[in-house]
């Protein structure tokens, strides 16, 4: 993503709209609902060799083979055993040759929320464990603060350690 796009992101426009809220190690996150293709329960993942541990492997999504990334591991959070509320959010991200389907493993999906741009604050540079680039902003909601993720960046092929 170029500089101009970054600036755009700083403006209010892009943060507005519906977000899918999910939990990860007790923190609340959100990602643009337009990127979400579907939410599925945990299923058998076939592990792949020679890849960073956060790339869990591949699953069979009704005949298509798609990679799955464990977001806890990706963000350096403590790994946790999968339980019945663990689910895979299938997202459509930008690849260099068009959209790419990928699954992300999250603790649980919480809600669909509307975000008012007025309530979004820019990402503070706090020496976060998370790369500030991954975060579009912090949305202040009634129940607390949600971290809005820029999922295209999080699941970028280079960021995932998949590129050569």
């Amino acid at each position: 993503m170029g500089e101009s796009a970054k600036k755009l992101r700083a403006g209010a426009g892009e943060k507005e709209g519906k977000y899918l809220g999910f939990e990860l190690a007790g923190e609340n996150y959100g990602l643009e609902i337009l990127k979400v293709r579907e939410i599925i329960g945990m299923m058998d993942i076939t592990p792949l060799p020679q890849l960073p541990s956060h790339v869990k492997g591949v699953i069979n999504l009704r005949g298509k083979v798609i990679p799955v990334v464990d977001l806890r591991l990706k963000f350096g959070l403590e790994a946790s055993a999968y339980h019945e509320r663990t689910c895979i959010i299938v997202v459509e991200t930008r690849g260099s040759n068009g959209p790419v389907l990928m699954g992300i493993v999250v603790d649980t999906v919480s809600e669909v929320m509307s975000v008012d741009p007025a309530d979004v604050e820019a990402t503070p540079e706090l020496g976060l464990r998370l790369d500030a680039d991954y975060i579009m902003g912090l949305a202040k909601q009634r129940e607390g603060v949600k971290i809005l993720l820029d999922i295209d960046r999080v699941l970028n092929v280079q960021e995932l350690g998949l590129g050569m």
Partner: protein, 757 residues
């Protein structure tokens, strides 16, 4: 030409115009181009000039329509229609008095004639003035669009011509074929005309005239004409190739070509008398008559007052039976009729989706059937319905897979041209025979096999076949024969390229291989192993191989390409009699014949084409080299051991090579042993891409959905070899203390029947 005949032609042209008009959509440029062609055709035929004014006025309207200079496109097209109707009426001779006719023409001209001026001056007519006046960006972009659709259409047309012209050589009397070629050049002429591509227009125009003469049987297709048309196709391709780039760069769309040279060649071709007819060729090809007989018959045909048909002469002279001639004629016709097969173009991604879905349907179905709840309620009707369902599903699966299949003909036909060109270049006489070109193969394999096929055909002609003099000296016919053959065999397609050339020279290959350090001595190798040496990389790179062995140009490339497709390549050769290369390829890249193995909790798929055998080790077969490199000794052959569980990072059930199973795999002539827990069996699996994100993954080519819906990874044997490194290309581990002579070069005698556990 008689007047009556001309009148008939003219009304024919006008009817064609009327028919074209119905199909014309003003927003569709190519259809407008065709309309313009029809109009021009009328103008050309109308030598007496009865329709000249009306036709010219209609043409102007149509041209303005194409250029977007007309505000109301529908109304303008109406005017063209009115003009066409008027032309039809004039030809029908419906006007009693000359006056009525004149008046009607006047009326039409005044109705449309004033219009262009109106359009440009009237401010109310939006679009018209704006677009025709100083070419602003919009007009330029539109122009570019015009050129773009022209280039696309022309390129497609030219490609079709190539194939058709080549068939024309075989059947010069096929009017359908001639018409098709004629139409393409005609369209090319029309469209290039209004795009002011003068050179293209000039070439197309003159080629069209040539073809017209052929349609009127004033000329007959022969080698020279076919060559000329092919050259013309290349010339035009070259001309239109860079049009878009040149326009975008603000240059003139056309480049200079030597039109005079073109005209000279054309004149030379036109003065050439007709040569061997196709019927004769068919008969000669079938071995029914000799070419001398045909020549004699032709001479007779040429000198006769009332030329009889070739077939008749041959039968009359007793050279061929009537039945044989009829059969040959039928064969001739068949080629033309097959082209008219009905097809629908579908995006391949839709087909892939369909195949994916059907695959899931199969899995879901088997899961439903295995549901224990069903076992309890064993109802007869339910059982019947379920088996009906599974029959339908397997039919559906078969149909879905067959949608991707196309005959290999297309690929074979491209070879015709290649063979012609190569034969000419190398001064050899080559006859190309194709068999089984209706054999079907997956659409996406077509592109993949093209390159290895070209290599092999080139190799066969360049190095396999001798020069005519050499052939004569060896007691063979001057004309070498290359046979291209395809057939299905047990779920694979076999493509054979055989030629009756000089054959492989065993001693020379062995000498060369020793010189290259590929082997130490050759006496223990059987022929098969020797032939395989020519596939070794580097066998042919250093010097011109043709001087040494007469073989081997880029054959390692061929083998790599074939192995990439999970296929195998094989050679049979007899010195002095020729060589047969046969490629065995899977029918589709979508399906892999795989051996499913289990390592720890995971299942992996090894392409069966790479598997040599599987076995349990006998005591003492396993040893280590320098404490690290693990080796296996199977019947005197030493191969490195790869522990798959280490490579794929899983916990295996057995970590002792003696308790686990060993699978011997081969890639590019190297063999290695894979250690697995158990074999689950052989299975045909649909290959799924792991997607763009995982394309850089080594050792894995894709995934496959297994019977329980889980994904199994398909191994890339070449990738695994690279990952595990060690050993040179021939499978010799580094610094190994064994006697080099003990190492079987390619270990081919291990091939054959893999022992399934």
């Amino acid at each position: 030409m008689s007047q009556e005949h001309e009148g008939e032609q003219l009304s024919g042209a006008v009817s064609a115009l009327a028919a074209q008009l119905v199909l014309t959509d003003p927003s569709d440029i190519p259809s407008m181009g065709r309309l313009l062609n029809s109009l021009e055709r009328v103008a050309e035929t109308d030598q007496a000039g009865v329709l000249r004014q009306v036709c010219e006025a209609s043409r102007q309207i149509a041209e303005r329509l194409v250029m977007g200079e007309v505000g109301d496109a529908a109304a303008a097209l109406e005017q063209v229609a009115a003009g066409t109707a008027l032309m039809q009426e004039i030809l029908d001779g419906r006007f009693k008095g000359l006056k009525t006719k004149e008046m009607r023409i006047e009326a039409f001209l005044s109705q449309v004639g004033g219009r262009p001026a109106e359009c440009q001056s009237a401010p109310g007519q939006e679009g018209a003035g704006a677009k025709s006046q100083p070419p602003d960006d919009n007009a330029e972009a539109m122009d570019l669009d015009l050129y773009r659709s022209f280039v696309a259409e022309a390129t497609e047309g030219l490609e079709q011509i190539e194939v058709k012209v080549l068939s024309l050589e075989e059947s010069p009397d096929d009017k359908e074929l001639l018409n098709a070629i004629f139409r393409t050049f005609h369209t090319l002429k029309g469209t290039s005309g209004f795009l002011s591509l003068e050179a293209v227009n000039h070439i197309a125009h003159h080629t069209e005239n040539l073809l017209d003469k052929m349609r009127d049987s004033r000329l007959r297709a022969n080698h020279q004409i076919v060559d000329f048309i092919l050259d013309t196709v290349d010339l035009v391709k070259g001309l239109i190739g860079g049009i878009l780039e040149r326009i975008e760069a603000g240059k003139s769309p056309e480049i200079d070509v030597d039109l005079e040279a073109f005209s000279r060649k054309l004149a030379a071709v036109e003065s050439e008398p007709g040569a061997t007819p196709a019927l004769g060729e068919v008969l000669v090809q079938k071995g029914l008559v000799s070419s001398e007989d045909i020549d004699a018959a032709l001479a007779q045909q040429g000198s006769a007052e009332q030329p009889a048909k070739l077939g008749e002469i041959l039968v009359h002279e007793g050279k061929a039976t009537a039945k044989e001639v009829t059969q040959a004629l039928r064969e001739q016709k068949q080629i033309a009729s097959e082209a008219a097969a009905r097809t629908v173009r579908v995006d391949t991604s839709k087909l892939d989706n369909l195949v994916d879905m059907v695959g899931e349907l199969v899995i879901t179905q088997s899961q439903v059937r295995q549901n224990p709840q069903l076992g309890g309620a064993l109802d007869q009707k339910l059982t019947r319905d379920l088996s009906q369902l599974s029959r339908i599903i397997s039919d559906l699966q078969r149909t879905a897979m067959s949608l991707r299949m196309v005959p290999i003909r297309q690929t074979f036909q491209k070879m015709i041209r290649l063979v012609r060109d190569l034969a000419k270049k190398s001064d050899k006489e080559v006859e190309l025979v194709m068999q089984g070109d209706e054999t079907e193969i997956d659409r996406n394999m077509v592109d993949e096999i093209y390159e290895p096929l070209v290599h092999m055909v080139r190799n066969a002609i360049d190095h396999g076949l001798e020069r005519p003099e050499e052939r004569e000296a060896a007691g063979k016919s001057r004309c070498g024969r290359v046979l291209l053959r395809a057939y299905h065999k047990g779920g694979s397609i076999i493509i054979e390229i055989s030629e009756d050339g000089r054959g492989l020279h065993r001693e020379r290959i062995v000498a060369k291989a020793i010189e290259k350090g590929l082997i130490d001595r050759g006496d223990h190798l059987d022929d098969h192993e020797v032939w395989n040496l020519i596939f070794a990389a580097g066998f042919s790179t250093a010097e011109k191989v043709s001087e040494v062995s007469g073989r081997g140009v880029g054959m390692d490339v061929v083998r790599r390409a074939v192995e990439k497709l999970h296929g195998k390549i094989d050679i049979q050769s007899t010195l002095g009699q020729g060589t047969i290369f046969s490629m065995r390829l899977p029918l589709t890249m979508a399906i892999i014949d795989g051996m499913v193995v289990k390592v720890g909790p995971e299942r992996y798929i090894i392409p069966t084409a790479a598997v040599r055998e599987s076995l349990r080790l006998e005591r003492g077969a396993y040893f280590t080299v320098a404490g690290r490199g693990e080796m296996i000794n199977i019947r005197g052959k030493l191969m490195p051991l790869i522990r798959l569980h280490q490579l794929f990072d899983v916990v295996p059930r057995y970590s002792d090579p003696y308790t686990s199973l060993i699978v011997v795999v081969e890639n590019e002539g190297r063999q290695k042993c894979l250690m697995v827990d158990e074999l689950l069996g052989k299975q045909e699996l649909v290959i799924k891409s792991l997607g763009e994100a995982l394309k850089s993954l080594k050792g894995v080519t894709g995934g496959a959905i297994l019977g329980d819906g889980r994904v199994g990874l398909i191994m890339d044997v070449g990738g695994i070899f690279d990952l595990t490194g060690g050993g040179d290309r021939l499978g010799r581990p580094p610094a190994m203390g064994a006697e080099p002579g003990d190492i079987d070069l390619f270990g081919l005698d291990a091939g054959g029947e893999p022992a399934m556990a």
